[in-house]
Amino acid sequence: MKNTALLAGLLAAGLVLTACGTTSGNTAATGGGTAFTPPSLPALGKLGAGEGQLSVLAWPGYAENGSNDPKVNWVTPFEQESGCKVNVKPFGTSDEAISLMKTGQYDVVSASGDASLRLIASGDVEPVNTSLVPNYADVFGFLKNQSWNSVAGVAYGIPHGWGANLLTWRSDKVSPAPTSWSALFDPNSKYKGKITAYDSPIYIADAALYLKAHQPGLGIRSPYALDSTQFQAAVDLLKKQRPLVSEYWSDYLKESQSLTSGDAVLGTAWQVTVNVAKTGGAPVESTVPSEGATGWSDTWMVAAKSQHKNCAYLWMNYIISPKVNAQVAEYFGEAPANSKACAQTSDTKHCDTYHAGDSAYASKIAYWTTPISQCLDGRTDVKCEDYGAWTQAWTEIKG
């Protein structure tokens, strides 16, 4: 066929074009826990005048500009104070955040542990000069220089806050109130078809966390360090869960709407989702169940290619200032990173409820982190499944 020949020819022409155009990857930088060497990038030396513009890539609820609720707005005061006009892009999963950061269009990002090291390793973010962020001094000590926000003692970001993924339900439709993650895994659940789960490979860790408590024989120590047997058990559990699920969510607003309309009555959610649903008039409750929970500890990071670094530093200092950090922590439903924020929350018990200064409690949450083939729990006799395998398995689970 003539057509095909022409197409082939043109494709070949394009091929030559590409071969010289695409950046070839640095194969050496494969993740090995702290073993990797990040590209050497300088941190900002001193703060200059704001550039007038800032693109913020944030978890939903972290950079509210009044578009969800006119009363919830801390972006506009920042714009007025700093002169940096802010464009906010919310993302639903850490993977999405990494993809968006790679477009080079964002200046700062609120990265969870499963994104931060990958961003550091790929050179998408640069070290942060914490002395240019005065409010950093007030950040709880147990959040500074941790494995997810620093490499070899070099800080790559400013801690923002931390919390847990919650078991969530409609209190008028689900009784008795669930106290264990088993509510989401019971094949005979009477809420079959009304359950909702997080749409990301990292959700496999939730299944592993459940198995850690309910099948001790598997010997799971960390839900992010799964050898092939443990991994398969978690994947199988999720495959059995799928018929119960009405929708997987990655858009918290869509989930909140399903909870409000009653198309979902039980599932995993963030506190902010619960708050939005409650504002919409739905009786929704949430808890950290008996098995514990997966969770996040988030860090504000600066894009290496950012053209607006002064605004980025101004933003980082602003967003963790006691009052704003308190506002965000209360709105999103997490523990603030700034120790002075606890005095600023409208609910005086907020920091107690979320164990803000309690490093012992904080160590119990299984924070999101990127699974790599070298087991993160310290085992050296087996290989663990890396995130590539998690990603493929996730497609399989959804079927």
Binding site: L17, K254, Q257
Partner: protein, 268 residues
């Protein structure tokens, strides 16, 4: 006519039912723009004019409308030029490679949008090193808009033949004059119909736009996508949709009038 009264009646009823199905969801959208229940449960919770009032004052929607119109007009202009050139080449000349080229023109709209989207995204960012912006979205939109202009112009050229142009040339007019005074006037309505469809296509495109529009910019569909699930914004989205439907009847009607003979009012 060979068709019995029953056949006629059955088919006309089918037509009426089909139109009812087409318009029922739009009616739901219209009613929901007055629904005080933000999850749009049925029957509606109550009547409110709040969303209409708030839509009028919504800066995001207005900015998105401006971006959409800019992108649509620029993409349509490019598509008009390229589509018409290609139509002339393929309709007026016989040459080897004619078939593959006609396939090539259809390709951007026949391949799934996500393929076109990620291909262009990859080309802009990693090969050409261009930052995504309005320009990249315009290029992407023009690519899949060419085909509708091409189809309209080809259909017109096929019907017209080239007698009039030859007559004009025989009478001593040069090529440019002939184009200006003979060819172009004959094509005007086909170009209009094609251009209008190209604009409509660009105006409602989501998938390719997602991958080619720069951060911080929003076209109407992207704005809708960002706001669809927001509890206080979703009803405003309904208002915007109703306004768009009502506003669109004017250009659609005009194109119908002007294209006259071309029965479909422009070919897809």
């Amino acid at each position: 006519m060979t068709f019995s009264r029953t056949t006629r009646r059955v088919l006309l009823v089918a037509l009426a039912l089909g139109l009812a199905v087409i318009y029922f969801p739009l009616l739901v959208v219209f009613l929901n723009s007055f629904n005080s229940d933000t999850t749009f449960g049925w029957p509606p919770g109550g009547f409110t004019l709040e969303w209409w009032g708030r839509a009028a004052a919504n800066d995001g929607a207005l900015a998105a409308l401006r971006t959409s119109v800019e992108a649509g007009l620029a993409a349509t202009a490019i598509a008009l030029v390229l589509g018409a050139m290609a139509a002339f080449a393929l309709q007026r000349y016989k040459f080897i490679g004619r078939n593959p080229i006609s396939l090539l023109i259809v390709l951007p709209i026949a391949l799934p949008g996500i393929v076109t989207g990620i291909a262009l995204n990859n080309a802009f960012r990693t090969i050409l090193g261009i930052n995504l912006g309005l320009f990249t979205a315009i290029v992407a939109h023009a690519t899949f808009c060419i085909v509708v202009v091409f189809n309209n112009v080809v259909a017109r050229l096929r019907r017209l033949g080239n007698n009039l142009e030859e007559a004009s040339m025989d009478l001593g007019a040069d090529g440019i004059t002939t184009f200006r005074l003979v060819t172009f006037p004959m094509l005007r309505s086909a170009l209009l119909a094609g251009g209008l469809l190209a604009f409509a296509l660009s105006f409602d495109e989501v998938i390719v736009t997602t991958f080619t529009l720069g951060a911080g910019l929003e076209t109407v569909p992207i704005w809708i996508y960002d706001n669809l699930f927001r509890p206080n914004q979703a009803p405003i989205v309904n208002v915007v949709a109703v306004v768009l439907i009502l506003a669109s009847t004017v250009p659609v009607y005009l194109a119908q009038r002007l294209s006259g003979d071309s029965a479909s009012g422009g070919r897809l």
